[in-house]
Symmetry: D2
Subunit: 300 residues, 4 copies
Amino acid sequence: MIGSRFEYVKHFEQPDSLLPNTWIVVRIDGRGFTKFSTKYAFEKPNDKRALELMNAAARAVMAELPDITIAYGVSDEYSFVFHKTCALFERRSSKLVSTIVSTFTAYYVHLWPTYFSEAPLSPPLPSFDGRAVCYPTVQNLRDYMSWRQVDCHINNLYNTTFWALIQLGGMDGTEAEKTLKVNFLAPMNKTMSLMLRKGTYAADKNEILFSKFSINYNNEPEMYKKGSYELVEPGTHNAALEADILAEPVQKSKTQAENDRKRRAKARIVVEHLDIIKDEFWDRRPWLLSNKPGKVPKEP
Amino acid sequence: MIGSRFEYVKHFEQPDSLLPNTWIVVRIDGRGFTKFSTKYAFEKPNDKRALELMNAAARAVMAELPDITIAYGVSDEYSFVFHKTCALFERRSSKLVSTIVSTFTAYYVHLWPTYFSEAPLSPPLPSFDGRAVCYPTVQNLRDYMSWRQVDCHINNLYNTTFWALIQLGGMDGTEAEKTLKVNFLAPMNKTMSLMLRKGTYAADKNEILFSKFSINYNNEPEMYKKGSYELVEPGTHNAALEADILAEPVQKSKTQAENDRKRRAKARIVVEHLDIIKDEFWDRRPWLLSNKPGKVPKEP
Amino acid sequence: MIGSRFEYVKHFEQPDSLLPNTWIVVRIDGRGFTKFSTKYAFEKPNDKRALELMNAAARAVMAELPDITIAYGVSDEYSFVFHKTCALFERRSSKLVSTIVSTFTAYYVHLWPTYFSEAPLSPPLPSFDGRAVCYPTVQNLRDYMSWRQVDCHINNLYNTTFWALIQLGGMDGTEAEKTLKVNFLAPMNKTMSLMLRKGTYAADKNEILFSKFSINYNNEPEMYKKGSYELVEPGTHNAALEADILAEPVQKSKTQAENDRKRRAKARIVVEHLDIIKDEFWDRRPWLLSNKPGKVPKEP
Amino acid sequence: MIGSRFEYVKHFEQPDSLLPNTWIVVRIDGRGFTKFSTKYAFEKPNDKRALELMNAAARAVMAELPDITIAYGVSDEYSFVFHKTCALFERRSSKLVSTIVSTFTAYYVHLWPTYFSEAPLSPPLPSFDGRAVCYPTVQNLRDYMSWRQVDCHINNLYNTTFWALIQLGGMDGTEAEKTLKVNFLAPMNKTMSLMLRKGTYAADKNEILFSKFSINYNNEPEMYKKGSYELVEPGTHNAALEADILAEPVQKSKTQAENDRKRRAKARIVVEHLDIIKDEFWDRRPWLLSNKPGKVPKEP
């Protein structure tokens, strides 16, 4: 309306647009979730309700921000991937991070009663922090996703064993930790190194380690072993969207963006728990890494 | 636990620590709140419940992050000020912004039923974006705060008149806008320019303008005219904290920080609606701009 | 040796490492070279000595910094390309830019008498500014190089005509500019647009435009029409370097880096004036864009 | 002239403007000057010609960039201070750093024969790297300057003793180093710590240490002990400039800036070797830290 002599302070805001033509990953992490999970008595080593709440909040983020290509979650963290051509918020880092973190938090708190009906939230409330990272190539991006999934696997293998020693073996935390150091970590390192050097991710091999603890790790839920990814599958958008696949990717108008949001909101966002390290996952979903961001191919 | 060949992707994260010895302001803004306020039928030009919900969420942020010196809110935005010596999260911009945005959102959603009991939240949920800006001097910081309060004043003066023309004068939006252009903005600009040039902020002078519309602007609630600031007043901390005033500001240990958080949570965070442009406000609260961040002076 | 109470000021230096796995281009530009070229009576539209001095200074930069893959110069600017795996100075922007700008300037001043023996330098001396830009993909990098060469072509076409009108046609500057606006820029824009849309860069087509001014643009020196690039050609390094082609690219030790510098200093750095927009240029020099930075393939 | 389809690459350049209202220090450092000083047989521990050449190059930088408030040099480094209101190059970091580094290098190479007439430069030529750092307060800036001068003092004290042991005492480098470790560094640390804790910088106290080596450090040239600073002293500008002192600091027009440059070129830039840690230095030169950048007060 009217300028004031104070307006000059606007020029202290530094630009923070992320490098063009790079994949943007926004990862959010629960703040103080060790304490938080104790307060609400999360089941150990995995709480199904807590993970499904994370997935539900992520799904809402995906629905509200159609520029997101894929999301991957494990434990109290979630990574959201923007296509390298993404122009949302002029790629401003703080806008991207704060919008995702805020939307995720809103749904996490809002949906809490659906998953934890018996334990209403009370202060201090759950919150998340976040950051944006750029990856120049598809290989870098896939390695990022693989890094998170390997982390998921290793942590889950460790935690499953740790809590088995306590819950089934009657050990206390210190004993369990000590036992794991001797029987688990050393061979673990050797096996993992081998696996990783061969470029494969063979969960089945880990069974050997587990034989000592009489747990069939194979039978553990996939969500615990693999984490959760979310994406839009072909055939779940309406015809107009599917037609987009043939068009050149262009800067979207405001109305188009709004329509995208609505279509996305209706689209079936798939939550699954597959190996995203192997080529197969990406080969079968070529639209994820194609130059048609957010586009879904026609079904044959 | 174990390194994988994918871990190199960590090095793509760029450092974003803010320049030391500068005041940090994190401002958050409601996303799409015009639409949101229509959905939940916010009263115009000001909805008391909505503003009090903003204040309550901000108060929770202040309680959880004791490094915050003062906060100032107006409409759907809130600014949080960190002392220039703040070392929280190593001053990393994305951590500061995302933590504040997430905490604020969590409380906004959680406390919603307290203020809007008759209108439960439904998707799309309210969310906020945020950014961090550094101000090197106290003058820059005060000018930032003044900028926001002048904005509050001008917008409220305009909105109050606009809605009076509609609600009391029976105009539609277009007529009201047109009337304001002729009767309001031109003299407004002249008066404001004069006020601003003189370096004063004389709300009483605006009454002249309002005489035409038969509204006594002076009688409008202070919260609407001045916005809301939040801070910790002297005498509301326990003795240990008060003693800190004599100590040198030092890097806090983790335990100290946790204790600070707890004391802050108990401290009476004051919400008031004063003129923060004039010197008087700051002169009376010397601890805000002193070199003892978060410290409150002993009462005489 | 000993820390002082002032050392804290070191922490105000902000990190500025460039995003990993991206091509880095450092471009330098002459400061005030319009004035400078008048002072030393550079020939118009092109001064062979001045361009060759630029090339000589760039060659020295290439010899001293073996991490540079290719350099391209036109007029008073030069672009230096670092391979995307480059780890020099930890990819710190200010180190890369300042080192190149300083080295280039040193040789420009030092070699000046070789090219302008009759006109010794006097203050104000020639100087250059610089900047670093990251390009995530080979396509982006090639488009950058093409951008500079298209600029070279268009400017040279314009300047050649402009100065012909003055030197041969007896016009003054204003008349020449006016004539060019009518006869040159309009058809130029049309032809260039066509060329660019077809993705080709057909200098021969420009002759049509030139027929009006009785100049055979084809006969102009290639250095003026194409600019100059510099790179290390196969067969000009010693055997040890050539053997590197089979090795994995690894972080170099300090000694290796020094050896690289010495070999590079001895290697024949080629200066040529070819079309670098077409695929052919890059297809014939696969080592430039390969994952073996600075490596030169064995000759068959 | 004409846009090409390659021009999009311009948008990959990231903005790098430095935070407003902060003091900018650009420090440049000689690259590989240990080797360089050996090649040209610099006298040890200090070479008067080499230091005077540094000062002459810095003086040329000061003359060409009137925005510089003060410069301070020691050994092969030089720091240039821009006033916090500086708007040169829109405060872009890479422009500021590269321009200073390039101008400095040009004069260093150009003036070399004046100081080293008997030893013409040959490749590899001397070069410098640089960086820009922001300091929010006068105290931070003064602490930066003090940091460099304390460094100068400590290094010079050490080097003077080291080379005395070799040149006068007949030791070799290893013996000298060993001797210094025992006799010098331990008491040095203690004395310096004491001095620094008291906030004073008392060069005279260091004589105690030197008594062991029979050198009167007091008699060493001030340039070696204190380094060199450069600034414009009152009375050396013409009347027009002096009149500026009463004017408000405003954004300069291009012509004004050019005039400033010319006046500066004529002004007497003072090179001196005083204690810049003590208040006295700054108290006597109030224009340096005032809000009138580059202005010089009238003489009484």
